[in-house]
Structure formats: structure tokens, C-alpha cells
């Protein structure tokens, strides 16, 4: 499909700037969205490889790695040195959180979809949008480059707790890597803050005529609420990051207590509190985990409704639930700190708020089930990923209840039970939803269809293997198997857990390896996939009325909105879908249930 005269006019205007302005520093939200998509998918591979280093050590502790060992760890005889193990756990999490999940949801999908779904020709401030992508690159260079500085990349955990992360003497490798980490994360934060302001403004100000707030798809509501979370929470992390840099470089003592020593060397600064970092960090990082799932939930709602061919069950409760999750998300951060030394009275209050945050998530799960009830389900690849999100989120959400219970958390804190929980919500949940979203919106992005049969193979293999890797982590954690420990097996308590870890590691290697199916399908379809029309899925959303791919300016007509995006199976029309822009028939009676 080619763009028409309106889009062509925009194209002329934009292309006048030459290659750099059109493709590198593009102001078109769709190009920026794809820039985010390609960058984050590459980092997804890197983060996955870092995880395989962890899995290698846990399966074959201190064994030299074949092939890679000579390239990467030749000084240690091919084995992973203990400080490099802590570097692996730190950087795996850092890459996945800051360079994959957050930017792929907000930067890639938020950017690409928001103007298209609301009927706008671009974002409110396209220049700010372009800057929000390019501000990621200093972070990519700093954090990627930190592997190659003296001492290597950061090793204090992605949580970067002082004094370990502040005292250069506390870890032999904690030299510039940690400082680069802090500055890099600050750049990511600035990028996100820029994006979030743009998204909120665009959604509030630039909706097409007839597109009321309660006719917006859940993807947009989710992106909107997520943008609010980013805007309110990030400044705290940014400030904390700058304070930690100051402690490291300028002799301040925000996070160092009086009389502190490390490696038998006394520290000059003091008068601060290590726990202050934890409060500031988690005040952002707890809302961050909702930033990392709400957009996925929104996209899942859209995909489920489309392929069940019936309306989303409980649209307004779904909107209120997302808002509830976000609001409550600001008052639960202390649940990461139950055994930190925080006043135990706060343990009581945070426990109650944390218990309650399970409620809106439960409501959403029931509404997703209600969306499937009575439908005519088409098992396309995106639908399979969306349904699996519901199944996997049930596990991730329920496991959270254990750690919300403070006495139980005394035991499972810092064990693999926690690792199981967040991998279920972030990988089995969000990442699966992201795959589904890629298969679903790929035709809109690239004008071609991905291969659905290979998509199903990719889904099946991924679904089975991820459960083999992450589900056993629950029982490992039950036994107290600690996190971030390079060799847990020399403790009596964990001595018998090696075989299970080996099974999990083999599955992890297979899981990462099989993603080649997706990579080939993704790139191959761009050149050889069948061309897609405007609306290959017969979906209702406004984005499916634009050409595939849309030209600059998006729509070749002025969209007017008559209804919400979930009127599938409506008795008002013969087809089983009813686009938002389709005018109602002359004699239409209100027949909603």
C-alpha cells in the first residue's frame, strides 16, 4: 500500500532534510518507534546471553566455559570469576530493565501506536520525541562500554545498594563501571521523562473528533497511566543517582554512615544512611515494575478482544484497575525492605498496602477470562501469546502474595522465590505480551505479514521452555536457595539442588537458542512476507484504518470516531467487527448488554 497525496505531501516535506533528518534524526513517531524497537531487540539478545552466563555458573560451578571461556575469561582459565558472576547478575538485570522492557513498551510501542490509535498525525512535540530516543545512546555507550573499563561493569546488583556500590574500596571491580552505570541510568531516566510528557500531552490534546477518553483502547489508557508513573517516579531515581555519584566522586556522605570502613580502610565521609538509598531507589523502582507491565496488559486486552471476536469484558473496571494499580504502586515500596533494617512498624503498613495491590490485578484477570467466555477464538500467533500472558500472569501475581506476607518474606527474601516471581511477571508475562504485540502490529509497521506457522512454533517452544526454566525457581526458593550467590552448593542446606539447576540451565540455553526462529521470521518477513492490507486482522482499532505502513501524517482521511474499539460481534452490522470510524447504520437501536 502506498501513502496517498496527503501523506505524500508530508513525505516531500520531511525527506527534504536528507538521509540524516529522515531516517536517523527522524521526527516521525513511527520511525522513532522502530528505532526503539530495533535497539531494544538487540539488547534483549545481549541481556539473554548475560543470563546464560549466570545459568552456566549455577549448572557447572567453576567449570571453564567451552569456546567462550577462552575469549571472555582466559585469565581465569575459562571459568567465571566470582566478581564476574556478580557483574553478570548486575548487568543482566540492568540491561533487561532499562534497555529492553521499559523502552520497548513505552519507546517502541508507545511511540508507534499512540498517534495512530487516537487519530493524531504525530506526537505533540516531535522534536522532544526524537531526543528521547537519542538520549538512550549515551546510556548505551556508557553502560555497554563499562564492560571494557578497568574493573569491568557495575557489580553491586541492579539495585546498587550502598555502601557496596559507593565505596570504591568495597569491591575490587567497583571503579568507573559503577559510576558509568549511574550516569547511564540517569540518561535513560531523562529519555523516559521526555517521552512520558509527550505521551500524556498527545493523548489529552490530540484525539480525533469523537474519540472520548472512554472510547480509547486499553493500550492507550495503559500508556497514559504508565506515562504518569514515569513522570512522578523518575525524578526521585534521578536525584538518588546523582547523590550516589556525588558520594562516589565528590566526597559527600548521603549514603555512608559515620565511622564506615571497607577493606580495613576508613572512609572520610559519613553522617548518612545506607537505607536512604533504598527508600529513594524503591520509591521509583516499585512504580517501575508497573511501568513494565501495564502497557503489556493494555496490549493484551486489545489482542484478546480482537481474536475472541467479542467486546472486552468490563472496559471501565479495566480502566479503573489500571489506575488503581498505578496509584497503589506508589505506597508499597517498603515491601522490598522488610528485612533491611527499616522500622518494622513500617513493615506492617507496607504489608497491608501490598496485599491490597493484588486486588486490581485479580480484577483484570477475571475480566480477561470474561473476554474469552462466549467468544469465537481465532488461534493466531498474537492470540496465543496474549492468552499465555493471562496464564503466566496468574502465576506471577499469586506468587507475589507470599512475599507480601512479611513473616514469610523473612524467609524467602533474597531467595529464588523472588527471582521466580519477577521472571514470571516480566518474562512469562510482559515479554510474551511483547512478542504477541510484535506479531500483531508487524503488518502495520512493515506492510507485510509475519509467517503465522513459524510464529506458532516459536510460541510453543518458548512457552514450554520458559516454564521449565522459571517454574522450578519457586521450589528452589522454598528451600532458601539464595540469589546472587556464585556457588550455593557448598552449603549443606542447598547441596542437593545442583541437578535441578542443571535441568533449568539446559532449558535456558535451548530457550535462548530457539529464539532464532523469531529472528529469522522477523527479518525475513520484512523482505519476503506477503504484503498486508490496511486491516489484515479485521480489527476495530483506528490504527487499522491507516495504510500499512502509514505515511507521514498517518491518515489519508480525517478520522471521526463513533464508538469504542471493542464492538466485535455487534448485532448492528453483518460483519463480526465494527471499526471505530464506521458510521452507524441509518436505523440503529442501542443493543449493548
Amino acid at each position: 500500500m502506498t501513502a496517498d497525496a496527503h501523506s505524500d505531501a508530508h513525505a516531500e516535506h520531511a525527506h527534504a532534510g536528507g538521509f540524516l533528518k529522515t531516517y536517523v534524526f527522524s521526527l516521525d513517531h513511527k520511525i522513532i518507534g522502530l528505532q526503539f524497537l530495533f535497539s531494544t531487540l538487540i539488547w534483549f539478545l545481549i541481556g539473554g546471553l548475560l543470563a546464560l552466563g549466570i545459568r552456566w555458573q549455577l549448572a557447572y560451578p567453576w567449570a571453564p566455559m567451552p569456546i567462550l571461556g577462552d575469549m571472555v575469561a582466559s585469565a581465569e582459565g575459562g571459568q567465571i570469576a566470582p566478581e564476574n558472576y556478580t557483574m553478570l547478575v548486575t548487568m543482566h538485570a540492568t540491561v533487561m530493565i532499562f534497555f529492553v522492557i521499559i523502552p520497548i513498551l513505552a519507546g517502541a510501542f508507545g511511540n508507534f501506536l499512540i498517534p495512530l490509535m487516537i487519530g493524531a498525525d504525530d506526537m505533540a512535540v516531535p522534536t522532544l520525541n526524537m531526543l528521547s530516543y537519542w538520549f538512550m545512546w549515551p546510556a548505551f555507550f556508557m553502560i555497554g562500554g563499562s564492560f571494557f573499563v578497568e574493573g569491568g561493569a557495575a557489580q553491586g546488583g541492579w539495585t546498587s545498594y550502598p555502601p557496596l556500590s559507593v565505596l570504591v574500596e568495597a569491591a575490587p571491580g567497583s571503579l568507573n563501571g559503577q559510576t558509568l552505570w549511574l550516569i547511564g541510568v540517569t540518561f535513560v531516566g531523562i529519555s523516559s521523562m521526555m517521552g512520558s510528557i509527550n505521551y500524556m500531552t498527545t493523548i489529552i490534546q490530540m484525539r480525533a473528533p469523537g474519540m472520548t477518553m472512554f472510547r480509547l483502547p486499553m493500550t492507550i489508557w495503559a500508556m497514559f497511566i504508565t506515562a504518569l508513573l514515569q513522570a512522578f517516579a523518575l525524578p526521585v531515581l534521578t536525584a538518588a543517582g546523582i547523590m550516589q555519584v556525588a558520594d562516589r566522586l565528590f566526597g559527600t556522605g548521603f549514603f555512608i554512615s559515620d565511622g564506615a570502613t571497607a577493606n580495613n580502610m576508613a572512609m572520610a565521609s559519613g553522617g548518612g544512611q545506607p537505607l536512604l538509598w533504598q527508600h529513594l531507589f524503591w520509591f521509583y523502582s516499585h512504580p517501575a515494575v508497573y511501568i513494565m507491565i501495564l502497557p503489556a496488559m493494555g496490549m493484551v486486552s486489545d489482542i484478546l478482544s480482537c481474536f475472541a471476536r467479542k467486546p472486552l469484558f468490563g472496559y471501565k473496571p479495566m480502566v479503573y484497575s489500571i489506575s488503581g494499580i498505578a496509584g497503589l504502586g506508589f505506597i508499597v515500596w517498603g515491601h522490598h525492605m522488610f528485612v533491611s533494617g527499616m522500622n518494622p512498624m513500617l513493615g506492617m503498613t507496607f504489608m497491608v498496602s501490598t496485599m491490597m495491590i493484588a486486588l486490581p490485578s485479580a480484577i483484570k484477570t477475571f475480566n480477561w477470562l470474561g473476554t474469552l467466555w462466549g467468544g469465537k477464538i481465532e488461534y493466531t500467533t498474537p492470540m496465543l501469546f496474549a492468552i499465555s500472558f493471562v496464564s503466566m500472569f496468574i502465576i506471577g501475581g499469586l506468587s507475589g502474595i507470599f512475599m507480601a506476607a512479611t513473616p514469610v518474606d523473612i524467609f524467602i527474601h533474597d531467595t529464588y522465590f523472588i527471582v521466580a516471581h519477577f521472571h514470571y511477571v516480566l518474562f512469562s508475562g510482559t515479554a510474551m505480551a511483547v512478542f504477541g504485540a510484535i506479531y500483531f502490529w508487524y503488518p502495520k509497521m512493515f506492510g507485510r505479514m509475519m509467517n503465522d506457522s513459524w510464529g506458532k512454533v516459536h510460541f510453543t517452544v518458548t512457552f514450554i521452555l520458559l516454564n521449565c526454566v522459571f517454574y522450578p525457581m519457586h521450589v528452589l526458593g522454598m528451600q532458601g536457595f539464595p540469589r546472587r550467590l556464585a556457588d550455593p552448593y557448598h552449603y549443606d542446606t542447598f547441596r542437593n539442588l545442583l541437578p535441578l539447576n542443571q535441568f533449568m540451565s539446559v532449558c535456558a540455553f535451548l530457550l535462548v537458542g530457539f529464539q532464532i526462529i523469531f529472528v529469522i521470521n522477523f527479518f525475513g518477513s520484512m523482505f519476503f512476507g506477503p504484503r498486508a492490507g490496511r486491516n489484515p486482522w479485521n480489527a476495530n482499532g483506528l490504527e487499522w484504518q491507516a495504510p500499512s505502513p502509514p505515511g507521514h501524517g498517518n491518515f489519508d482521511f480525517q478520522p471521526i470516531i463513533y464508538r469504542g474499539p471493542y464492538e466485535y460481534g455487534s448485532p448492528e452490522v453483518e460483519e463480526d467487527f465494527y471499526p471505530q470510524t464506521q458510521p452507524p447504520p441509518e436505523k440503529a437501536a442501542e443493543t449493548t448488554v
Binding site: P163, A260, I377, E378, I410, H413, V475, D487, Y491
Partner: protein, 258 residues
């Protein structure tokens, strides 16, 4: 076959429950608990496991059933054109809310007794975490901690009396560590500059692991200790033996562990 996908989703509740049923046969389960308060924690854990297990099974079976019955290749009826149900929303908001509040309230006493209300006894031992060892400070012959005749041991071996409540003061010499006794369901981060207390009672004699549970640097994995619960007489003898060693000026090194 057209029901392949629903059966794939059915594997989730089957595999999920099976894992928890099979694990104990491989000795993968909550470790042995010898503490007095640990029973409460384990009971709370199992209660939540059964409750979430039931919710897990029901919701996953519903997901399986809907994915099987409403498969478009099988379901020839018209779509149920419904936008929701107020009644259902109320029910599935109120019931989970009550359940969650119930769980919140029943556990408050356990938390308070474990973390908020210390026993009114003298400190038994001071524990100091440092990179990468657990140091212990025992009372000297005057049987009072924090006097000049105290003895400090750096071999990572903690001796305590069993069947008596003990009070530990815990601290860190450098970075954050966490004092974790898996077999007593005890864990608390140790923070430099912040002296804290922990208290517990072991109901049995024996020796158990001390694990560091907060990333503290490259040696985090080997910051291992052992706790020995002895009867009162043996404990007093052990203290006496350590005091004699101190007076003969022998340096005790942490055991090298492979």
C-alpha cells in the same frame, strides 16, 4: 488437532501442581526448621500455598475450558455480545478484598513477635558481618557483653545454647550483609552504623548453616558460617574453652573451604 492449544494451556495447572507434589520426594522443600517461631512462618507459607494453589487451579481450568469450548473451529453459536457484568465485578472485587485483608490481619502477630517485641534479656552474642566473614563477640568471664574481657572469634562458628531464647546484637563492619539462618527462619540485613537486635530460640541441638543473604561483593558466595546449638552445660564449657584459647594468644583463622 483443533484442541491442541487448549491442551497446551492445560499443561500449566498440571505441571504447576505436579512440581509441588513431586519436589518433596527429591528433598526439595522448606528446609528443616528447629526454631520456636518457625512453625508459625511455615504454617503461614503453607496456608498461602493452599489458598493460591486453589485459585491457581480454578483460574487455569477456567482458562483451559474457555479456550477449548469457545475455539471458533468448534463453537458454532453466535458470540455472546456482552460488555461486562456489574454484579460479577462486585463479587470478584469484594471476595478477593476480604480474603487479602484476612491474610493481612492474621499474620500481624507473627511479625510483631519476630521483629517488633524483643525479649527483655541480656544480649547473648554480638554478630558482625564483614567482607567476607561472620565475626562473633562472646562475653568474657564476667558473662557480660560489651565489657573489656569479651572475646572475639573470627572462625565463622557461632555457639549458642539451645532451648533458651537468645538475643543477638547484629552489625556490619563495612557494607550491607544479611544474617540468614535457613533452619531457624531467621533473616535480617546488617547495616553499618545501625545496631539491630534479633532473637530466637532453637528447640533442638545441632549445627546449621549461616548464609549471607545480601550481595556484599565478590566473596558473597563464600561468606559462610555455622551455628552450633549446644545444651547449657556444653555451651558454658565451650565459652570456657574459647576464653582459655584467647588467653594463650592463639590466632584462629576462618576455615578454608573448597
Amino acid at each position: 488437532m483443533k484442541h491442541f492449544w487448549s491442551f497446551l494451556f492445560l499443561l500449566v495447572p498440571i505441571g504447576g501442581v505436579a512440581t509441588f507434589l513431586v519436589a518433596p520426594y527429591f528433598n526439595i522443600w522448606l528446609p528443616q526448621d528447629v526454631s520456636e517461631h518457625g512453625k508459625t512462618i511455615d504454617n503461614l507459607f503453607m496456608f498461602i500455598l493452599y489458598l493460591t494453589g486453589a485459585v491457581f487451579i480454578v483460574t487455569q481450568l477456567v482458562l483451559f475450558y474457555f479456550s477449548w469450548k469457545y475455539n471458533r473451529d468448534v463453537n458454532k453459536e453466535a458470540v455472546k455480545f456482552s460488555h461486562g457484568s456489574h454484579a460479577l465485578e462486585i463479587v470478584w472485587t469484594i471476595l478477593p478484598a476480604i480474603t487479602l485483608l484476612f491474610i493481612a490481619i492474621i499474620q500481624m502477630e507473627a511479625w510483631a513477635s519476630a521483629k517488633i517485641r524483643p525479649p527483655d534479656i541480656k544480649p547473648t552474642v554480638e554478630v558482625t558481618g564483614r567482607q567476607f566473614n561472620w565475626d562473633f563477640r562472646y562475653p568474657g568471664p564476667d558473662n557480660e557483653l560489651y565489657t573489656e574481657d569479651d572475646l572475639v572469634r573470627t572462625d565463622g562458628k557461632l555457639y549458642l545454647p539451645y532451648d533458651e531464647t537468645v538475643l543477638l546484637t547484629i552489625n556490619s563492619a563495612d557494607v550491607l550483609h544479611s544474617f540468614f539462618l535457613p533452619n531457624l527462619r531467621i533473616k535480617q540485613d546488617v547495616v553499618p552504623g545501625m545496631e539491630q537486635s534479633m532473637w530466637f530460640k532453637s528447640k533442638e541441638k545441632g549445627e546449621f548453616d549461616i548464609v549471607c543473604a545480601e550481595l556484599c561483593g565478590w566473596g558473597h558466595y563464600k561468606m559462610k558460617g555455622r551455628v552450633y546449638f549446644l545444651d547449657r552445660a556444653a555451651y558454658d564449657d565451650k565459652l570456657e574453652e574459647m576464653r582459655l584459647e584467647k588467653n594463650t594468644m592463639r590466632v584462629v583463622l576462618p576455615e578454608e573451604d573448597e
